[in-house]
């Protein structure tokens, strides 16, 4: 079983959103998965579940620095680190970058720059990030109200608004995970 670890010591950056959207993707593709909610704040649309036949496990982690984080990163096959794009997010992001340094080139590490919008602050942030960390793999998620609407209805953004930018960006993240872990549709 492959482990997808979604982490950032900062809360409210989109970890649970990504965990849910990956779960929706695996459901659509009939890829059996387990979902572990180590963040007891709740908020997942999906119920945490264990599946003996799981090809992949999604692990949603708390938005606080955990003593076991290093151990979880070691056990992960892919690490996804969502972040918002403000000055307040820089210190925790830089800590996560430091913690994942040793995995670069050994396992996929994806930084998701969340809530991109047309204001300069997010453009500046992306420029700063690309310039300072050109070697890191990134994906962008737009500040898209469809995510909130989909969440309120308990469905994925693809179901709610398949042509939205958010749905396309999320499909790219899902595709990245699926390709990196060599997961195939209709697993059984």
């Amino acid at each position: 079983m492959k482990n997808v670890l979604i982490c950032n010591q900062k809360g409210g950056v989109g970890k649970t959103l990504i965990a849910d959207e990956l779960a929706f993707g695996f459901e659509r593709d009939q890829i059996p998965f387990s979902l572990y909610d180590l963040d007891q704040q709740g908020g997942l649309i999906h119920e945490a579940k264990e599946n003996d036949d799981a090809a992949v496990a999604i692990i949603d982690t708390p938005g606080a620095l955990q003593s076991d984080l290093k151990k979880w990163m070691d056990a992960a096959d892919i690490i996804i680190i969502p972040t918002m794009m403000s000055n307040r997010d820089v210190p925790p992001l830089e800590l996560m970058i430091e913690l994942t340094q040793e995995y670069q080139g050994k396992k996929p590490v994806l930084f998701v720059l969340n809530r991109w919008n047309h204001y300069n602050i997010t453009k500046d942030f992306i420029e700063w990030f690309d310039e300072k960390y050109p070697e890191l793999q990134t994906a962008v998620l737009s500040d898209c109200t469809a995510f909130n609407q989909a969440g309120a209805r308990g469905i994925s953004i693809k179901e709610l608004s398949p042509r939205s930018l958010g749905a396309k960006q999320m499909a790219e993240i899902y595709g990245f995970v699926k390709t990196a872990l060599k997961l195939k549709e209709g697993w059984r």
Binding site: S34, Y36, G42, A75
Partner: protein, 73 residues
């Protein structure tokens, strides 16, 4: 069930959370909100039908079951 580092960690955290709820006097609420893993068996034909219907409706099989439960139970 699967016995992995993450399954053990998840179970441990659920237990801790229940204890916290109990400590602040919300044991009942914690029990109600506890996530439940449901195991049941379906014939291959029923399973195929369920997935086909879910696909037709453009929703997940879990959502389809939830709809059925809300309508019939």
């Amino acid at each position: 069930m699967a016995d992995t580092m993450f399954s053990r960690e998840s179970a441990k955290r659920q237990k801790e959370e229940l204890k916290k709820h109990a400590d602040v006097g919300h044991a009942e609420a914690a029990q109600t909100e506890k996530k439940i893993n449901v195991n049941f068996s379906l014939s291959p034909a029923s399973k195929e039908k369920m997935h086909a219907k879910a696909k037709e409706m453009g929703i997940s099989a879990s959502s389809l079951l939830q709809l059925w439960i809300n309508e019939h139970c």
